[in-house]
């Protein structure tokens, strides 16, 4: 009797276990399938649009044939480049403050907390904010405003990764430098930051990957520009907004270009992400 009951209970527990584990495996499978499906769709639609013209011609006017994405690619590169130039020093120095100076103080805790929230804050609201301070006041949309919006997204990423990487540096290294009589600023820049270099670069790469695909904050800061423009004081074409506009349009060549641009951005973002991981792992094991 009792063994029978035990056997039943045992079978039930094993069934529940198998069910749970199979379902969890299915969830994993579904996640992977979606990633592969998205990549497949992008490649099959996007490769058809990638040709020499895409890099040499500007975005076509409504109804006209052909065209490319030159102005949008250049605009995106310039804006992302400028915001990297801005957010790298700001993010790294702020990260240094959080580990080397602020550490457990109340302000540092609060900053850390707010930074983490800014990491996930809706990017469109950041666009609204930049519109209010840099577009409405100046009177026109501009590449600078777009860069500013992107920097607001990149800075928290750089800041938090820098901080986390600096924390991994053993404190004996700091103490050794202090014992030699080095001042704090030299220890933080020439010893700790140098030791954490690869991790900090990983953070930078991730920040670039994050902002190169952002659309929402550019919609009403950089706006868009049908023409080739390298003056950041004027509205600037950029890949994400062009993709948004073209994908929603009724023109076939626009939609084709949108797929081409989408493929370009996704590949760039994925390559940056993989690079960041490989780079980080190699340095750690070395």
């Amino acid at each position: 009797m009792l063994t029978n009951f035990n056997q039943k209970l045992y079978n039930r527990r094993r069934r529940a276990n198998a069910q749970g584990l199979i379902l969890s495996m299915a969830a994993m499978g579904l996640g992977l399938a979606v990633l592969l499906w998205i990549l497949f769709v992008l490649l099959s639609n996007g490769l058809a649009a990638v040709d020499w013209n895409m890099f040499t011609k500007d975005t076509p006017a409504p109804g006209s044939e052909g065209g490319g994405l030159r102005n949008a690619i250049v605009g995106s590169l310039m804006m992302v480049g400028l915001s990297v130039l801005v957010s790298t020093p700001v993010g790294i120095l702020a990260g240094i403050y959080l580990t080397e100076y602020g550490d457990q103080s109340k302000t540092a805790e609060l900053t850390r907390f707010v930074t983490d929230i800014m990491l996930s804050a809706p990017s469109i609201v950041l666009g609204l904010f930049v519109y209010a301070i840099a577009v409405a006041t100046v009177g026109n949309f501009s590449g600078y405003a777009g860069s500013l919006a992107l920097s607001l997204i990149a800075i928290p990423v750089v800041m938090r990764t820098t901080e986390n990487m600096l924390r991994l540096v053993p404190s004996s290294l700091r103490e050794a430098a202090f014992a030699l009589g080095a001042p704090r600023w030299k220890v933080s820049t020439l010893v700790t930051l140098r030791a954490a270099k690869s991790g900090v670069i990983t953070g930078l790469l991730l920040a670039v990957a994050r902002i190169s695909g952002e659309t929402a904050p550019l919609l009403f800061t950089a706006l868009n520009n049908q023409f080739y423009n390298t003056d950041m004081g004027k509205p600037m074409a950029n890949l994400p907004v062009v993709i948004f506009q073209f994908a929603m349009s009724p023109y076939d060549n626009w939609i084709r270009l949108a797929w081409g641009g989408a493929l370009l951005i996704t590949m760039a973002v994925l390559v940056l992400n993989i690079l960041a991981r490989v780079f980080f792992r190699e340095k750690i094991s070395a």
Binding site: N17, M25, E100, A121, A132, A216, F244, A262, T266, N273
Partner: protein, 319 residues
């Protein structure tokens, strides 16, 4: 001897000065984040003030978005935002839990890294790609293979039938919710995996030692131990889903009407901003700023709670 000392003193003085400036410099940069936060809240509120002044708190539940007659209320957009994010959570949370369980318990160690990375890559795909994918690939399939059968089977049922009414063109609240689910899935899964790994091995091993199955260990040991962190991860995903713009704008249908069923087109706060802000003027801008302010406040609260819960789990790490 004395000159040497003088040198030492001046070097020390110089270094102390340099240190002071470096300290203040880094501090200023880190305070920039706090300044940005206050700036965002203040500038949104100031720009939204005309709308709040005219409609008062009524703005939040007023069901009207009439640009021509300047009658604005946030209810339609708020309902669309919460409904799509809610659907996304219903789908994404169990899936993320499954993925986290797989990655921490069943997955062979040599595969863990590769699979974990691919889930993280899913998080790296820009949201506009999800939007395009939703519009061109998902929506047609969704219309033919999900909406039509669902409407046939459930559309005539009392009580719930109305949820499945309306046009089956692949757009709408439900479609937006599903696309959003896959967009936030990797964020939730990553947090859950991280907090699961925080569980002390000794707890896990004790449970196994008592003869628990893997599933029982997860359900009765790991999950209760990491409860707060898991809820934090879910709320982090919710925060993302509420504020997501591009993935939603492509598939929600963008109609300024109160949605009547899961298939009917609607709008979310973020997609209203994305669609209308470029062409807005005067009072319309103020109303859009008011929407943006509400969105920021809602997501801020959700994300802050999420952060507090995750922090608490991680602090409890060493028992």
């Amino acid at each position: 001897m004395e000159t040497g000392n003088q040198d030492m003193v001046s070097v020390a003085k110089r270094q102390r000065l340099q240190d002071f400036f470096f300290h203040r410099l880094t501090q200023t940069f880190s305070l920039l984040v706090l300044i940005a936060l206050t700036g965002i809240i203040a500038s949104l509120f100031i720009n939204a003030w005309p709308a709040f002044k005219k409609f008062g708190l009524h703005f939040i539940w007023y069901v009207e978005w009439d640009i021509v007659n300047e009658q604005f209320g946030a209810a339609i957009a708020i309902v669309g935002t919460i409904a799509s994010a809610g659907i996304a959570m219903l789908i994404a949370v169990p899936l993320a839990f499954g993925i986290a369980v797989f990655l921490t318990e069943t997955c062979p160690v040599w595969l863990r890294r590769a699979l974990g990375t691919s889930i993280e890559l899913l998080a790296a795909v820009p949201s506009i790609i999800y939007g395009m994918f939703g519009l061109f690939v998902f929506a047609p399939i969704f219309a033919d293979y999900l909406q039509v059968p669902l409407q046939k089977v459930l559309g005539g049922m009392p009580l719930v039938g109305f949820l499945f009414g309306g046009a089956t063109n692949g757009m709408g609240i439900l479609a937006a919710g599903i696309v959003l689910a896959f967009m936030v899935l990797p964020f939730i899964a990553a947090v859950m995996r991280d907090v699961f790994e925080v569980t002390p091995p000794i707890l896990r091993e004790s449970a196994y030692g008592l003869g628990c199955t893997t599933w029982e260990v997860v359900r009765k040991v790991v999950l209760p131990y990491t409860q707060k962190g898991v809820i934090g991860g879910v709320m982090l995903g919710l925060g993302r889903a509420l504020g997501e713009t591009m993935a939603v704008t492509f598939v929600i249908g963008n109609a300024n009407r109160m949605p009547t069923s899961l298939f009917s087109p609607g709008t979310s706060i973020a997609s209203t901003l994305a669609n209308e802000f470029g062409e807005a003027a005067d009072f319309h801008i103020a109303a859009l700023f008011a929407l943006g302010f509400l969105l920021f406040v809602i997501t801020f609260i959700v994300l802050a709670l999420a952060k507090i819960l995750v922090l608490r789990t991680e602090k409890a790490k060493g028992i």
